[in-house]
């Protein structure tokens, strides 16, 4: 019974494909991938609509107000109203803008975000686009975001856009390093770049109780925190949203966009957030596996989306809690702290592996991380507490 519910979507797909029995193979393949693409878009665009209203609700609760509550029950139809508003808004293109580049930038950024969503396993046998080097694909395609942001900034022919794009690219390139290097320990331990294999490696339970998710090892916990923070930066979320800081440079690379193009940027940002969280779940939080063995009767995709919702809630929570940090603080943090810690995670994972992956390995890898963390904190401590503020460029 639970087996058939678990595979319900696959069975539905098989049923749809059975209508094509007798047609040529290439047609079945094309229709099969079209079904995957359609399902992916349907699920994540719905989730985008939901999170856009839920984020406003949660932020409102954090700030002790009500949030949107006029459209539909509890304001749940707000995204429909927003969508209609965005669609009928005038699409303004600046006279001096580079029309083609200005138009292509939101298209490219959304395409990249959707492509990266394709390699994540959403449930048992439920990977829309299953390839050998899935993790590599994720980062390779994701790196095109920088080019899209640059196109947006340059194509708008506006100072604020260009400055915002420069900031965005600088922070993306800097934080891509800790993001990728914090993935390395998992790839090393599993010995595969395939997301399905990584999820399969976290299937068992220690003593039949604690799941063997990588986040429960010292190197995994440290790498997960690094991954999560870098993911915050990559998706341009508060506290790292200097690239679109309203108080400084209007809206950064999105300044000259209006109407649905602006909505596309907004959507791409959220899809990127889903993709990074999904990859984090796959790598560290056991993918679609249940946290306890007796709960395994609940379908795998429900577990995946439950974990995704939890992570998305943390994203919103962080946004509601922390102020934006300065550009130079952010860069220093990336190069002086995040990067060395990410390398430490790699070494700690190696220590864990060579000490037999048991209690001894746990202790040694914990020791490696603790020593480096303490040393780094002591080195980076400026010892200048409450010093008077010094202005270098303004009197």
């Amino acid at each position: 019974m639970s087996k058939s519910i678990d595979q319900a979507f696959l069975n539905a797909k098989q049923w749809l494909l059975s209508w094509l029995a007798g047609s040529p193979t290439w047609m079945v393949q094309v229709v099969s991938s079209l079904i995957n693409i359609f399902a992916l878009l349907a699920v994540f665009l719905t989730l985008f609509a939901l999170i856009s209203v839920l984020e406003r609700k949660i932020l409102a609760r954090i700030q002790n107000r009500y949030g949107p509550n006029r459209v539909g029950p509890f304001g749940l139809f707000q995204p429909i109203a927003d969508g209609i508003k965005m669609l009928i808004k005038e699409d303004i293109v600046p006279a001096r803008a580079d029309n083609i580049v200005h138009f292509l930038a939101p298209v490219l950024i959304a395409a990249v975000a959707i492509l990266t969503l394709g390699v994540i396993p959403y449930g048992r046998n439920m990977t829309p686009f299953s390839i050998d080097g899935g993790i590599l694909f994720f980062f390779a395609v994701g790196s095109a975001t920088e080019l899209a942001v640059f196109m947006a900034g340059w194509g708008s022919n506006n100072k604020f856009s260009m400055l915002g794009a420069m900031r965005a690219i600088a922070q993306m390139i800097s934080y891509e390093l800790p993001l990728i290097i914090s993935v390395l320990p998992v790839v090393m331990v599993v010995g595969s770049l395939t997301p399905d294999r990584i999820v399969a490696a976290q299937a068992e339970y220690t003593f039949g109780l604690v799941p063997r998710w990588f986040v429960f090892t010292p190197w995994g916990a440290a790498a997960f925190i690094l991954f999560f923070v870098s993911g915050l930066v990559e998706s341009n979320r508060t506290p790292f949203d200097v690239s679109e800081g309203e108080s400084e440079i209007v809206a950064g690379h999105m300044t000259e966009y209006s109407g649905f193009k602006y909505a596309t940027f907004f959507m791409a940002e959220y899809l990127g957030m889903f993709a990074v969280s999904g990859l984090g779940i796959t790598l560290f939080l056991g993918g679609w596996h249940a946290p306890v063995r007796i709960l395994e009767f609940i379908p795998s995709y429900i577990w995946f989306f439950a974990k995704l919702s939890a992570l998305l809630f943390v994203y919103v929570w962080v946004r509601g809690t922390l102020p934006r940090i300065r550009v130079d603080q952010m860069m220093n943090f990336a190069w002086k702290f995040m990067l060395p810690m990410a390398f430490t995670c790699v070494i700690a994972a190696a220590a864990w592996h060579y000490c037999g992956r048991g209690a001894r390995g746990w202790l040694w890898s914990f020791l490696v991380i603790a020593i480096v963390y303490t040393a780094l904190s002591m080195l980076l401590d400026t010892k200048r507490k409450f010093a008077p503020r010094v202005y270098r460029f303004a009197e």
């Binding site: 580079d98 580049v101 050998d132 640059f150 690219i169 390139i173």
Partner: protein, 160 residues
């Protein structure tokens, strides 16, 4: 290889490369160059060389293309201006194309039917890099680290 897919990808790549060579605005040319690289990566995918295709996208779109557009942005003041026909560039391009065609036609392996190669997985490439080619890999790593530190020293603020 699927010939229809190959022809489509080849036309796409050549068209993007032609656009990169002939477009009037320098920034458009740089962006078309990135599109051409996507086409080359697609060709690698069609050949079953997944890793090479992904590495190409990773390095060339994610890093080299961004580097090129930034170089244009930071060094040229006439980004939007028309540039004339570049004869030197045309001669270099024809020379490179000619030498490549000549060397390809000279090779013997074209006449022999290639043996069926098993698809190379990322794992095999990783194993080869870490065993047979570990010294070259480490040397490249050392060189790149030295280059990184050198770049940092070049831009480091001078202490007054």
């Amino acid at each position: 290889m699927n010939s229809a897919a190959f022809i489509f990808t080849a036309i796409f790549t050549v068209a993007a490369a032609l656009a990169a060579a002939t477009l009037r605005k320098l920034m458009h040319a740089a962006l078309s160059f990135a599109v051409a690289l996507v086409g080359v990566a697609a060709l690698f995918f069609l050949l079953g060389a997944e890793f090479v295709g992904l590495a190409l996208v990773f390095i060339y779109i994610g890093a080299v293309a961004v580097l090129i557009v930034f170089t244009i942005l930071l060094t040229r003041r006439d980004v939007g201006r028309n540039r004339g026909f570049n004869w030197g560039g045309a001669i270099v391009a024809v020379a490179v194309f000619g030498s490549l065609t000549w060397s390809i036609l000279k090779t013997q392996s074209l006449a022999i039917i290639a043996p069926h190669m098993p698809a190379l997985t990322v794992k095999q490439i990783g194993a080869a890099l870490m065993t047979t080619y570990v010294w070259p890999l480490q040397c490249v790593g050392l060189l790149l680290t030295a280059a990184l530190i050198g770049a940092l020293i070049l831009v480091m603020e001078e202490k007054r």
